[in-house]
């Protein structure tokens, strides 16, 4: 099966494409990567949970256990909304959602849970700005443009911040007791540092801050695995003792790209501390959505528990750089059609640049959705990269222009 990658630019008037600019750029795709073979293998082999395949996903290349979802209820398990190999996302800021289900003894389709969702911009054809050569084990674009109208950040800026004038509370970390603050990125961006509003009691010693991928299955939250994505330390003994806290920044030695729709945990530890020599993380009471809820747990274990009596949010700030955005259209699939000894189908997506600046596309990819079971328990969906191409000639999209990206898989006997 050969695959053509076609890109074309369109000039617009009042947001409507009026004519193509120049001729389409066409290259043979070089890009089906291991994730696509894994997706096919899982369905061909009808992998069940106990045999699941470890796959990398978009958020940090974490390993997930992927399989053919088999709900444990219902009499007809072949009738369900199986997300495996799904790529036909909608456009804009929306999300797909997974509805596992099966048919019950009365012949009715029974939807079990609407579980984790994935933003449209993480499913289907995606585009980015990096031209690092493709390898079979690529698991993401090297610099994906997210959905939206924002311009690229030339330097590190504040991406997300939680702070408030509300009379704060606090919770402390020391010894093996760690605190975690869940974050959910509001956009694609590259994380450079985090700032935490903290203060010390006594001399807590060296503090460690880590970023973990979080598996969010059903109502439980777990570390995806025991390896953090990023880690940095700071001297806790130089912190203020003022209970209003200070903003302490931890700059990471390397960066990761945070992906909307995924949940990450910022953990704070004072391993050499105790109840009299601890770090306190300023927080506020909150009954807002649980993805910002703080928890406490024991370092080295798989998860955390909510702090009683209520929910709180730790004050934090994420510092990073947005690579710039394009507005994602919906994924269209047309065909297949047969002509002579050839059959083909098309996968296409439009990207509109309304950022106010030019955007240069150097890489194109294709991602699909995969059902996955957590490392400990729970079930969710993840994104796997199926294809990635580096363009032989970069394409610069001026403000208001539309880019069409189309994959055409073609078989010939």
């Amino acid at each position: 099966m050969k695959t053509l990658l076609t890109l074309a630019k369109y000039k617009t008037e009042n947001g409507v494409p009026v004519r193509m600019i120049g001729k389409p750029y066409v290259q043979e795709s070089r890009s089906w990567v291991k994730g696509f073979l894994q997706g096919l293998y899982i369905n061909h082999a009808e992998l069940e949970t106990a045999q699941s395949e470890l796959v990398n996903d978009l958020a940090g290349g974490n390993l997930f256990k992927a399989d053919c979802d088999e709900p444990s209820y219902g009499t007809d398990k072949s009738r369900g909304t199986n997300p495996n190999l799904f790529i036909a996302a909608g456009g804009g800021h929306g999300s797909i959602f997974r509805v596992p289900g099966a048919q019950n003894s009365s012949g009715e389709f029974h939807a079990y849970n609407i579980e984790q969702t994935r933003p449209f911009s993480t499913v289907g054809i995606i585009v980015g700005g990096d031209n690092t050569a493709v390898t079979p084990t690529d698991w993401k674009l090297h610099q994906q443009f997210g959905n939206g109208r924002e311009q690229a950040d030339a330097s590190t800026v504040s991406i997300q911040k939680l702070d408030s004038a509300t009379t704060p509370s606090q919770y402390e970390a020391y010894g093996t007791t760690e605190m975690v603050m869940f974050i959910s990125p509001e956009k694609h961006f590259r994380l450079y540092s985090v700032k935490l509003k903290i203060y010390r009691e006594g001399s807590p010693g060296t503090l460690t801050v880590k970023i973990f991928p979080i598996f969010w299955g059903y109502y439980n939250m777990y570390k995806l695995n025991m390896t953090e994505l990023l880690s940095q330390t700071t001297d806790g003994d130089t912190l203020t003792t003022d209970t209003a806290g200070e903003w302490r920044e931890l700059v990471f030695a390397s960066q990761i790209d945070l992906v909307p729709g995924y949940v990450y945990g910022i953990t704070l530890q004072a391993p050499s501390g105790n109840s009299s020599n601890s770090v306190h993380w300023v927080s506020r009471p909150s009954n807002e959505y649980w993805k910002s809820t703080e928890l406490r747990g024991t370092s080295g274990t798989t998860g955390w528990a909510s702090i009683s009596p209520g929910s709180y949010q730790f004050y934090h700030e994420l510092m990073g750089r947005n690579p710039g955005e394009l507005e994602y259209g919906g994924v269209e699939i047309s065909g297949p059609s047969t002509s002579g000894s050839t059959a083909e189908f098309n996968i296409r997506r439009y990207f509109t640049n309304l950022s106010g600046e030019s955007r240069t596309v150097r890489e194109v990819g294709l991602t699909g959705v995969q059902s996955s079971v957590g490392m400990t328990s729970g079930r969710s969906i993840i994104n796997i990269l199926y294809a990635r191409d580096v363009l032989g000639t970069a394409i610069t999209l001026a403000n208001t222009e539309i880019l069409l990206a189309q994959y055409t898989p073609k078989i010939t006997v």
Partner: protein, 229 residues
């Protein structure tokens, strides 16, 4: 004209074409490897014949159609019509089990299948030309269970393996000339889903000359879906 002829050396040498055809850069395809061993389902049986891994000839249109069903999340209220192995049009929706080819021992409706037809494959083939069915009667072969090798990759290629053994206890040699891959997919019936079978790969062994499997021996087919960057 090869270098030997140009030099006028007059050597009467046959130009050897490598058996193995590799995938082209950017290609997604399958490779096929064929072996005949002594014994009935004996994994340690002596290898009597071996056709090394070569590029498969044909994904057929049903492969793209089933991929479209999953890629597009095609549902039961607007299914996609696809021709099954009995030449019936089935209206297929996405399912947990689409593309399932995990055939059990004795199941000749799913997984790698073999036959005696020698007609070149076409894009619209929906079944083998002449399938060898499971059994130990005349012209029949015993179908083993389908097994899988997990995906792996090197610096340029990713692949996984689908394997099946076919033992001949029919009493006479059988020349196997064609191989295929049959997969499950589902449509919504009156009271529950109905599963049907669809061919996604169709190949000839040794360009249709086939490979002879003597009585008491076992044929092994390795299909290896692969992608090369």
């Amino acid at each position: 004209m090869n270098i030997i002829s140009r030099l006028g050396l007059g050597l009467n040498k046959k130009v050897v074409v490598p058996d193995r055809s590799i995938l082209l850069p950017g290609e997604f395809n399958a490779t096929v490897e064929v072996l005949v061993r002594e014994g009935i389902f004996d994994p340690n049986g002596k290898v009597l014949k071996h056709i090394p891994e070569k590029r498969a000839e044909s994904f057929v249109v049903q492969f793209l159609e089933l991929l479209t069903v999953q890629f597009g999340g095609i549902g039961e209220v607007y299914p996609l019509p696809i021709t099954d192995i009995e030449n019936n049009t089935r209206y297929i929706q996405n399912s947990y089990y689409t593309l399932n080819c995990k055939g059990d021992i004795g199941d000749d409706s799913k997984g790698i299948v073999v036959g005696t037809g020698a007609t070149s494959p076409t894009i619209s083939d929906y079944k083998l030309q002449t399938q060898i069915v499971h059994g130990s009667g005349s012209g029949e072969m015993l179908y083993g269970g389908v097994t899988f090798g997990a995906p792996t990759s090197d610096s340029t290629t990713s692949h996984f393996t689908i394997t099946r053994d076919f033992a001949n206890s029919s009493g006479a040699a059988i020349v196997v000339k064609e191989i295929g891959l049959y997969n499950n997919a589902f449509t919504l019936g009156v009271s529950r889903t109905l599963g049907f079978w669809f061919m996604t790969l169709h190949d000839l062994i040794d360009s249709g000359s086939g490979i002879s499997v003597a009585n008491g021996n076992t044929l092994t087919i390795n299909y290896r879906p692969s992608a090369t960057i």
